[in-house]
Amino acid sequence: MAERLITQAEAIREATEQCMAEDPSILLIGEGVPDPKGIFGTTGGLLQRFGPRRVFDMPIAENGLTGICIGAALGGMRPLMVHQRMDFALLCVDQLVNNAAKWRFMFAGAAEVPLVVRMIVGRGWGQGPQHGQSLQSLFAHFPGLTVAMPASARDAKGMLVAALRQRDPVILVEHRWLHGLVDDVPAEAYALPLAGAVVRRPGRHLTLAAASYMVVEALLAAEALAEWGIEVEVIDLRMARPLDAETVVASVRRTGALAVADTAWLHCGLAGELVARVCEAAWDALRHAPLRFGLPDFPSPTAPSLCREYYPDAESMALAICRHLRVEGVDLAALSQGLRRAEPRDVPQKDFTGPF
């Protein structure tokens, strides 16, 4: 079949539209959802198609509206909430964690909360300390929440469709730098499992498990390293909860080495969890100490010059992997040069002009 290349933003829009068409109980709600700019293009046209009873702006009251969406879900609707920045979800941790995550359990299954919340991780163009947080580890900590982190457009669509078809709260962590990337996306509505990591590139020297946008950087690093004979197996984790450590363990049993790349701070985070799980389960198979890539231990600054070093990327990961494996014969300067991100580095693509 011919490839159908669309952006992740469009894939998300399409999933939403198709699910809303098939299920009249779905409501779309978020600050800016009906705006002309439509949440980075992910909600464009939906107000026009489904009308103001189903496509809904919301007051700036994240905790209240989350509670309201939980109530609507109990009442038989399927709310799909959107936060333009994941940071804003810090205002509704209470309702998400105390209620949405626990409602089914604490009432022993007497009720369920089919609520889907999209949260977009901001990066670049000076998002800064309060607009660039990547909070998957926080939410994934809590039993009762399902936390998806699609990297590809194909996954984003399939996972959103799956989320909108199942019966418990799902958080979909999007990354602003993935919205513009294109991918082969089937036209029809299809669900992909909200579980399971996937090997995106096979390799035999090291397993590099990555989440969300870091999959893009991991694949670039693997490609460059391959030219120097280092074959990195890249795994797209896809989910922060449930975390599929088994696929990673199986890979590590082949490669003997593990590195994990996350978009967030490391301390008490997803990358450490995966390292721990692999060390518990594949102790005998690991031939090297594990390696983690994540943000340095301070909030994200605004100035582009400061962000250059802040975010791990293909270049820094490839170099670190070489050093870690103590491989010889690699021209690190050349490797580095080949992977150097084009300027300006604070935008996902050279021609990117927002919205931010």
């Binding site: 009251a61 109530g71 309702q95 209620n99 009432f107």
Partner: protein
């Protein structure tokens, strides 16, 4: 708004009976609590029964109620089944939450009691959302949420009220103003009247004596009828008083956080005693009172017996309850 004439004798009797049912059950819980077999925090509502009964009378069975930590009265008044509630407090498999919740988590969906949880104010937006769903689906359903004067301090209440007003949702915000949050008096926590804020937010408002069950019932009936036909949310603030300690089975007046005599003054305004006087004045005979007491004693004893006889929950089931 004044109390309606106490002419509807069957209604008055029913209200008295419902209040007494709650009172007697709460008293039984308090009595048995010190056997240390109900091993969970309990927040008793003795003294506050009229609000639960008056409001729930205005609701249909398929109307919905949400509540918080002090939920026993609301649960029973809405028709929640007694034995599963007690079994829940005894941590049994037959509890309304399978033993997972204890006194602070109650649910009986068949009766329209949609859930109570102990995070203060947590169910207020959830109730608004349930009303929103009802409105979107065209159900003629009213949703009531009970909360205390303390809960009004949470910002989420204001977010919830504003949304309900904007979308004219069929919600009754029922504020049981018992003048204290734990041991803290209202006056040290806020400097304006709650109902005035709700009115400014655009709610229709009733305030008055929460120990007068006829007044509560009339106010709630009017509010429910109005909300049901799409006239938007109501804020009902009823004054009342908690007789026992905030959490637990005891009188705690000795702690000294309430002015001397305050409890006694409110006990003199006991919602049941007032109703009993009115019934007697209207000619209801002592036999009837005795019969009601006997019926309730039997029901309560049976419920305790059933709850205590029930099996313990199965730990192995727990993990499977997280997801559907």
């Amino acid at each position: 708004m004044r109390s309606e004439a106490r002419t509807d004798l069957p209604a008055s009797r029913r209200r008295y009976r419902e209040m007494l049912r709650i009172r007697r059950l709460e008293e039984a819980i308090a009595r048995r609590y010190t056997e240390w077999e109900m091993r969970c925090p309990v927040h008793l509502c003795i003294g506050q029964e009229a609000i639960a009964v008056g409001v729930c009378e205005a609701l249909r069975r398929d109307d919905q109620v949400f509540s918080g930590h002090r939920a026993h009265g609301h649960y029973l008044a809405k028709g929640g089944a007694m034995t599963p509630m007690l079994a829940e407090m005894y941590g049994r498999a037959t509890g309304c939450c399978g033993g997972i919740g204890g006194s602070m988590h109650l649910i009986d969906r068949a009766a329209g009691f949609m859930g109570a949880v102990p995070i203060v104010a947590a169910t207020i937006p959830i109730a608004v959302g349930a009303a929103w769903a009802a409105a979107l689906k065209g159900d003629e359903r009213v949703v009531a949420v009970f909360f205390g004067d303390g809960a009004f301090e949470e910002g989420v209440v204001h977010e919830s009220i504003a949304f309900a007003v904007l979308h004219r949702l069929p919600v009754l915000f029922v504020c049981e103003n018992n003048h204290y949050a734990c041991q803290t008096p209202l006056g040290t926590r806020r400097g304006s009247a709650m109902h005035a804020v709700a009115a400014a937010q655009g709610c229709q408002v009733v305030t008055g004596d929460g120990n007068d069950v006829d007044f509560v019932a009339a106010a709630a009936a009017r509010a429910a009828a109005s909300a049901r036909v799409g006239e938007g949310p109501w804020f009902l603030e009823f004054e009342t008083y908690r007789w026992l300690e905030h959490c637990g089975p005891n009188d705690d007046d000795g702690l000294g956080y309430r002015p001397a005599g305050e409890l006694a003054a409110w006990q003199a305004r006991c919602p049941l005693a007032a109703q009993a006087r009115a019934l007697r004045a209207a000619g209801v005979a002592e036999d009837w009172f005795a019969a009601v007491e006997a019926e309730l004693t039997a029901e309560i004893e049976a419920a305790f017996a059933a709850a205590r006889a029930a099996p313990l929950p199965d730990y192995a089931r727990m993990e499977g309850l997280v997801h559907g």
